[in-house]
């Protein structure tokens, strides 16, 4: 009797407790589905948009001491829609025909670039320990306790009120305004746009402004739950949004709304009942302790993998399915035009030269940075395989790398296994995890592969990392996750120089393997699949098998690289090296510099570890000017600029998937070719014509020679 009564009140309390966050999740899910359905953009930058509004509110209200209302208006009703409109106008309007995978990469870049731009512009810095305030004074105060089981705080009440108002506002807009009606038509059937002459630009602009405001509002409302305003925390929000949206099968706004509430309730219910179960079931502990952060990922991952209906819903509801032409491939055509041999030789010679100089002359800190660049390049080759070759977006490469690092820590530090052997074992484990993970994930395809891998990365981040036999558990918090340097026969790699040599050797071996794979059966098969999956299948290729291979190889490389990175730093340093948000920057870097070539990976590695010191601090400029004193005033540039540069660099990915460097080189080559053609074309005729027409660098440029040259060139063409 009493048991039933406590159970009942527990249940009620959980439901009440879950409602305020549920409304916020619903808000986010609504905004997310709105952009997804009106513009076909699976907007992973949604969390970033939420974060800048929250930061703006914090800046205005807490730092500048503005009253609540103006601060709220500026952050939610000015900044947020403004950013939404800007993104739509400057970026996504031009990407309408791009593939969904290309768009998702762009949103990833933006989710790194946008918060950095905000922080640079407003000189914003999240301060640890200063909890952001809500939108009512004394928000944490208890205010109302309707059933005597769960007292709502003022913040929670306000959250619910604001969120419900926003939803009603959206409903009214859909019902009563012409544009809203059109928007609803587009949401319900994206193809309507073309058929009914609806002004797609205006609808999509409005939906971006609206959804961005929703993001901003959710950001401001949820901020009091975080103890600092850090972009990574908000990036989680987008996963929450997707989980809620997916619970509603991504088909409609009302369902997304329900999905958001369900998520809030599920979390609260588990929070109430899990502690009881975990008293007898100890394996539930890590879940219990990291409940709120981990549930959305568990839900998302579980739903995507185990709920086949979502895949069918995807076919029916994906705005990109059906009528559109198939998106152009991401990773095809990996074998670019062969470069002239002599430029390759020059490049190699230059590299060897730099290597020798670094090796002989560099001091400890430079050796450290260069080694890090080489190791990161090795890790980035894993992106070359999965994104460049297989055309898939994996957002859990950091997790694979972490598995490598943690394996070395466990085996070498705790069980005394030889370090290099442990590194290889780590890579093998990562490959196995990658292969197993790819089985359910790759069936999803395209955008969903990205989302499921992201959910997996966060699952690892919020639950698995806390488990003792994976990552050391509690003791590692005190002692760190120590990783020794290897000793092989006479060579002790504790010496930084010899370790650099080791990493270079590993990089070369891996790079060679990648080029072999690319020009071999696996690479050609993957290239065919990303060229046209249905055609590849029609000649007997099994895409699933090829992709599992790609995933496993990629995870192996990431695991190996992660192990090396941990050995290099003598510590796993999970949080700064491998956390999902940190690893996001990897993908962004590689993709914007060139995901298809070994060179692209190497450049991304160099950019990762040297860009800051070399370029932004002005060291390189100092070398050119031959004195560190003459470095111009603008240096050192804030290192956050690199997030802006490379984050925005992904935008060109949609048009030039070969990456900035390769694209630049192609342009250059084209121009050189054109120039050469013109030269040889006009060269002959110049000889035939009067020598007057040849411009002499020493002679004074007269009008005569200037005008004479052009016609000669013109007439020969």
């Amino acid at each position: 009797m009493t048991l039933a009564a406590t159970l009942g009140s527990d249940l009620l309390r959980a439901l009440l407790q879950g409602t305020p966050p549920g409304t916020v999740y619903a808000l986010i899910a609504l905004g997310f589905v709105l952009t997804y359905k009106t513009s076909g953009v699976f907007n992973l930058a949604f969390g970033a948009q939420a974060s800048i509004s929250a930061a703006m509110y914090y800046k205005a209200h807490t730092d500048w001491r503005w009253p609540i209302l103006p601060a709220l208006i500026v952050s939610v009703f000015v900044l947020a829609p403004g950013v939404g409109l800007l993104l739509e106008r400057l970026v996504f309007r031009h990407l309408r025909t791009a593939s969904s995978v290309a768009k998702i990469v762009v949103t990833l870049g933006l989710s790194i670039a946008v918060p950095s731009i905000f922080e640079l512009v407003f000189q914003f810095q999240g301060v640890a320990g200063r909890t952001p305030e809500g939108i009512v004074p004394n928000g944490a105060g208890v205010y109302y306790d309707p059933f005597g089981v769960y007292p709502f705080s003022r913040n929670e009440l306000m959250t619910m009120a604001v969120a419900v108002t926003a939803m009603l506002g959206l409903a009214a807009l859909f019902k009563f305004s012409a544009l809203g009606l059109q928007m609803r038509a587009v949401v319900e059937s994206p193809r309507m746009t073309e058929l009914n002459g609806i002004r797609a630009d205006r609808v999509s602009a409005l939906s971006w402004a609206l959804s961005s405001s929703f993001a901003g509002m959710a950001g401001v409302l949820i901020a009091p739950r975080f103890n600092t305003l850090a972009a990574p925390d908000f990036f989680n929000l987008v996963v929450v949004a997707i989980a809620a949206a997916v619970l509603g099968k991504l088909v409609s706004l009302p369902r997304a709304l329900v999905g958001g509430f369900c998520l809030g309730w599920i979390i609260a219910l588990l929070g109430t009942f899990l502690p009881r179960w975990s008293r007898t079931q100890t394996w539930l502990r890590p879940f219990q302790e990291n409940l709120t952060p981990s549930v959305p990922f568990l839900v998302l991952f579980g739903v995507l993998v185990f709920w086949p209906a979502i895949r069918r819903a995807r076919e029916a509801s994906d705005p990109l399915s059906g009528v559109d032409p198939p998106p152009s491939s991401v990773g095809s055509g990996a074998r670019g035009a062969s470069r002239p041999r002599f430029s390759r030789v020059i490049g190699l010679a230059l590299l060897v030269g730099i290597g020798v100089i670094v090796f002989i002359r560099a001091d400890t800190s430079w050796i450290f940075l260069v080694t890090q660049a080489v190791v990161m390049s090795t890790i980035y080759l894993s992106v070359t395989v999965i994104t460049g070759l297989a055309g898939q977006i994996s957002l859990c490469q950091g997790t694979f790398a972490a598995i490598g690092g943690f394996t070395v820590f466990q085996l070498a530090d705790r069980h005394g296994v030889s370090v290099l052997l442990a590194a290889v074992i780590g890579a093998v484990i990562a490959a196995a995890v990658g292969a197993v993970l790819s089985l359910p994930v790759l069936r999803l395809g395209g955008v969903w592969t990205a989302v499921a891998t992201l959910a997996f990365a966060y699952l690892f981040d919020s639950v698995l990392v806390k488990i003792s036999w994976i990552c050391g558990g509690g003791t590692s918090l005190l002692q760190g996750t120590r990783v020794p340097r290897p000793v092989v026969g006479p060579w002790d790699f504790a010496d930084d120089r010899s370790f650099l040599v080791l990493t270079v050797i590993v990089f070369i071996v891996v790079a060679f393997a990648v080029t072999q794979i690319r020009s071999g059966t696996v690479g050609r098969t993957l290239s065919a699949i990303s060229g046209s999956e249905v055609a590849a299948e029609s000649i007997g290729i099994s895409p699933a098998r090829a992709r599992v291979t790609a995933f496993a190889v990629s995870a192996f490389i990431a695991g190996l690289g992660g192990a090396l990175l941990s050995i290099h730093q003598r510590n796993v340093n999970y949080g700064s090296n491998f956390s999902p948000f940190a690893a996001l920057f990897w993908l962004v870097l590689v993709v914007s510099l060139g995901a298809r070539t070994v060179q692209g990976a190497a450049q991304a590695g160099a950019a990762f570890s040297l860009f800051d010191t070399l370029i932004l601090r002005g060291t390189f400029m100092g070398w050119i000017l031959r004195s560190s004193k003459r470095i111009p005033e603008i240096f050192p540039i804030n290192p956050k600029w690199r997030f802006v540069f490379f984050g925005l660099g992904t935008i060109q990915f949609a048009r030039h998937p070969e990456g900035l460097v390769e694209h630049g080189k192609r342009q250059m080559r084209r121009r050189v070719d054109a120039l050469r053609k013109r030269r040889t074309g006009s060269g002959g005729s110049i000889d035939d014509a009067s020598p007057v027409s040849t411009p002499q660098p020493s002679s004074e440029p007269s009008n005569e020679t200037d005008t004479a040259v052009v016609p000669v060139g013109e007439t020969t063409r």
Partner: protein, 256 residues
């Protein structure tokens, strides 16, 4: 049993529309069969059902007597179905020869990660020779090393045919091979296809709107309308059938 393809009661529904309804057809070894019908009749959908791109809602698909209804696309392809696509499907940024090479490598099934890693993944001389033989047959020898972006539509279709031929098909499904081609290209395609078929001995199931092409190329035909079989028999007779003419509005002038 000599039927290379034999379907029984194949049906496919798309959210309310019966795209293919209770379709039973058979194709004998080495035969050329037409599958015609107005736009939206369900021809492409039927091809997709045969190859497994779409799961049938009802019915059985047999290849050379074996039930393949539950098999995935690539497994069916390996059992000897080749196909071309209504809207051309080529591998972006690959050369013509590379298209054939990957098909040949897949057919042999002797590639793999380990072979790639020890450097045995590159195209071998005998594979290249085999590809060049087919390229010769199709008259694509001159463009073998061109990226497919440089080809004409007609050549692109031939590349699709060549790619399918590398799998040694017993049955070739051609989905509107002449769409987008001019008269001359269509005539050339017919000649090339017939020569290749003579040489390689495979059956053809042809979807085509060009009545002239169908009647010159096939001995017998099936006619679909709204997913239903409305006529079948020798192509000449079928094309004269009043029901078919009614379904095929505007075709009268061409066929008479």
């Amino acid at each position: 049993m000599t039927n290379v393809l034999d379907t029984q009661g194949v049906s496919k529904k798309f959210s309310g529309i019966m795209a293919v309804h209770d379709l039973s057809i058979s194709v004998d070894a080495g035969e050329s069969v037409g599958l015609i019908g107005p736009n939206g009749a369900g021809k492409t959908t039927f091809f997709n059902c045969v190859l497994g791109v779409l799961r049938v809602n009802a019915g059985v698909v047999r290849l050379a007597g074996d039930d393949v209804t539950e098999m995935p696309v690539h497994a069916r392809a390996r059992r000897g179905i080749g196909r071309t696509f209504q809207r051309i499907e080529l591998f972006a940024e690959s050369t013509v020869r590379e298209h054939l090479l990957i098909a040949e490598r897949t057919r042999r099934r002797d590639g793999g990660l380990w072979k790639d890693l020890i450097g045995r993944g590159r195209p071998r001389a005998d594979e290249i020779a085999k590809c060049d033989e087919v390229l010769e047959l199709l008259g694509l020898r001159d463009v073998a090393d061109e990226p497919i972006e440089h080809l004409s539509l007609g050549q692109g279709r031939l590349v699709e045919v060549g790619r399918a031929l590398m799998t040694d098909p017993k049955l070739l499904l051609l989905d509107e091979p002449t769409s987008g081609l001019d008269r001359q290209e269509t005539a050339d395609l017919a000649i090339t296809l017939r020569a290749v078929q003579e040489h390689r001995q495979f059956a053809i199931l042809l979807v085509e709107h060009d009545v002239e092409f169908v009647s010159s190329f096939t001995q017998r035909s099936y006619v679909l309308d709204f997913g239903q079989l409305i006529a079948s028999g020798p192509t000449q007779d079928v094309l004269r059938d009043p029901q078919v003419r009614a379904a095929y509005l505007g075709v009268e002038e061409i066929s008479s």
